[in-house]
Symmetry: C2
């Protein structure tokens, strides 16, 4: 991973190459045979298509199969899914799955517009919907339905900022207070600034290797003991426009994707020790916990406020600081989550440490849960 932040002095290709070199080093120098890149906004904010070949070439991998995958903010998770299938199919033995986003070089209005393109251009964007606006409507409905106040929900960003304060890769590595959160400026009522993930640049890459033997060989050479297996992966979609949804308070695509991933891994949600969930807004994080089976409908904020999902609980959630405070370089986020969960299992995450998880999951979402990609990772020693 690169640190998430504002990098006026680093282009997307430079950020990506930095992450790719980190990943290749982490894999003992193993050279990727293919590259799948998650990215949402390069066409609009960078005027750049052909992105995957550009990044492969700049990273010294000219010639390999490379393509970009777009699933809005879930582009990183979608790249993981596509890359996983490339190695599982045997088309290649080693694939780099990555994501990169450069959001801070344009004026904020243009970035806001680019992100709003996750919505339906004809039925939502055309009428002025912003991405925060759509999520705000869901937050309002959730609060009204289950009787929560803004303060009740504010414990999510509070804890994310605390976790991020230990994470050297985080965009907002500083603790905050309930007062600061509640008094921050309105973005789209009831969402205030501190309820939303920041806009940031970043890149992350993971190297997937086909076959346990090859992976063990790399570990032996590096003197590393823990091996992490992708035990399951689930992917599901929903309508883009919210007007077509059956129930705005359920992340249906996340329900389906997580059940698929659990089934493929042969586990139930009870077996999951650690999770990185997609909290573009606090409401997204709460709904994710409910969709993944860790809380009943309408219960996540109550449980969270009571101290659940913290260190020592099961699952432990978002010790990276989440999208909220680690940051959300859109198309890279799914790969940040993967890297963080893998490091938590290996015990070498350089921030707030989980309690030796055996099984971890990542949950990446595109749009307002239009896309959901859930992976289950398992420790294999």
């Amino acid at each position: 991973m690169t640190k998430v932040g504002r990098f006026f002095d680093k282009s997307a290709r430079e950020l990506f190459a930095e992450a790719l070199f980190n990943a290749v080093n982490d894999a003992g120098g193993l050279k990727p045979q293919a590259l799948v890149v998650g990215n949402m906004t390069s066409s609009v904010l960078m005027e750049q298509d052909s992105l995957a070949a550009l990044l492969a070439d700049y990273s010294g991998l000219r010639g390999i199969p490379a393509f970009k995958v777009e699933a809005a903010c879930g582009s990183g998770g979608a790249a993981l899914y596509a890359g996983f299938s490339l190695v599982k199919s045997g088309l290649v033995d080693v694939v780099a799955v990555g994501g990169v986003e450069k959001l801070t070089e344009n004026v904020t209005a243009m970035t806001t517009k680019a992100l709003a393109q996750a919505a339906d251009a004809e039925y939502e964007l055309f009428y002025g919907a912003s991405f925060a606006g759509l999520n705000a409507m869901i937050a309002r409905l959730y609060m009204d339905t289950y009787g929560y106040t803004r303060e009740d929900l504010a414990y999510w960003p509070l804890r994310m900022h605390e976790y991020a304060s230990y994470n050297p890769y985080a965009q907002l590595p500083r603790k905050t207070t309930l007062e600061t959160i509640l008094n921050s400026s309105v973005i789209a009522d009831p969402l205030h600034l501190y309820d939303c993930a920041p806009i940031g640049d970043g890149a992350a890459v993971a190297i997937l290797v086909r076959g346990e033997e090859k992976a063990r060989e790399i570990n032996r050479a590096l003197g590393r003991e823990v091996l992490v297996e992708i035990a399951g992966i689930g992917y599901a979609t929903d309508s883009v426009d919210l007007g077509s949804r059956r129930d705005l308070l359920k992340m249906e695509s996340s329900i389906i994707a997580s059940r698929k991933a659990y089934k493929m891994a042969g586990i139930a949600e009870k077996s999951i020790d650690y999770v990185e969930v997609h909290d573009a807004f606090h409401i997204t994080g709460y709904l994710a916990l409910e969709a993944m089976g860790f809380a009943g409908e309408g219960e996540a904020p109550k449980l969270w406020k009571e101290g659940r999902f913290a260190k020592g609980d099961r699952p432990e959630v978002n010790f990276s600081g989440g999208l909220k405070a680690r940051g959300h370089p859109v198309g890279a986020t799914g790969i940040y989550q993967l890297a963080e969960a893998v490091m938590q299992i290996r015990g070498d995450f350089p921030g707030y440490k989980a309690s030796s998880p055996e099984v971890a999951a990542t949950h990446n979402v595109g749009g307002v849960a239009t896309f959901s990609i859930v992976s289950v990772l398992r420790r294999a020693t």
Copy 2:
């Protein structure tokens, strides 16, 4: 496929659904379990991301895994590659691979700009390079190196227009003359209007099925005898900016991709009876024939003018009319080629018919051969 053309009355989602329904009917009503969509310009020209979920939902497939793949004009081929790996890996048994592009609703200057984003934004686009301009430089170098005149190269579009006149899906289904081609207006010297593929809208979808038995079952139910197998697929990339290339007159990515595809299929180029090559410009078509091993360096226009690659020769080339005259709805083109080659093998292509090919190939390119994807298709009766 849909017909390629200008469809002011049909949105991208409508075009795509039409193609998807055609494909599902062609597969005996089999429901896709996943969707991979090739598209280049939706972010810029339609202000639409989340494209794959949108198309899945609109086509009645809400919920299935769906993502967009971008590899410039090779996006369709890249979608084929990604979709092929999804079924080969066993993640799904039936996948819809498709492409859609809607290029004609904007002013031409904006479309030209969107297509130029296939070039390097920092090293080429920024300095005013257009996609036709970059290809024109290659055409000029090729003519100077091998001593060809504009007329020598004009036999490509001449024949493409003739073939397209029989193709009900073609954008330009009319014959033309050498005089018309040579006297058409300059686009980027030495490329004139008739040397270039037109700008058009269109969508194409193919259904890939895992396992011969399942495919035979569908054929039996439809009373269809011929089965088409994807016997090989090759994918390679090159630098985006032309300044970094080793040799502008060789499509290195196409050389690598075709050799990979031949090797996977266990064939040599001599075994290929029919090919659809990517002729965004006539020069692209000639270079493709050389890269795929069907002509020596600098020889393709000479052989072509002598009548090679026409009916009865081996391989027969671009009986669809090619990008030049069937049209080039960018991200869909690779899937048009696939559908055309499959129908030529099955004997039910509704246009100019190939001579009962057993083995066919498709060649799809993104950028100035920045991406190349080659498939080998084999008849299995």
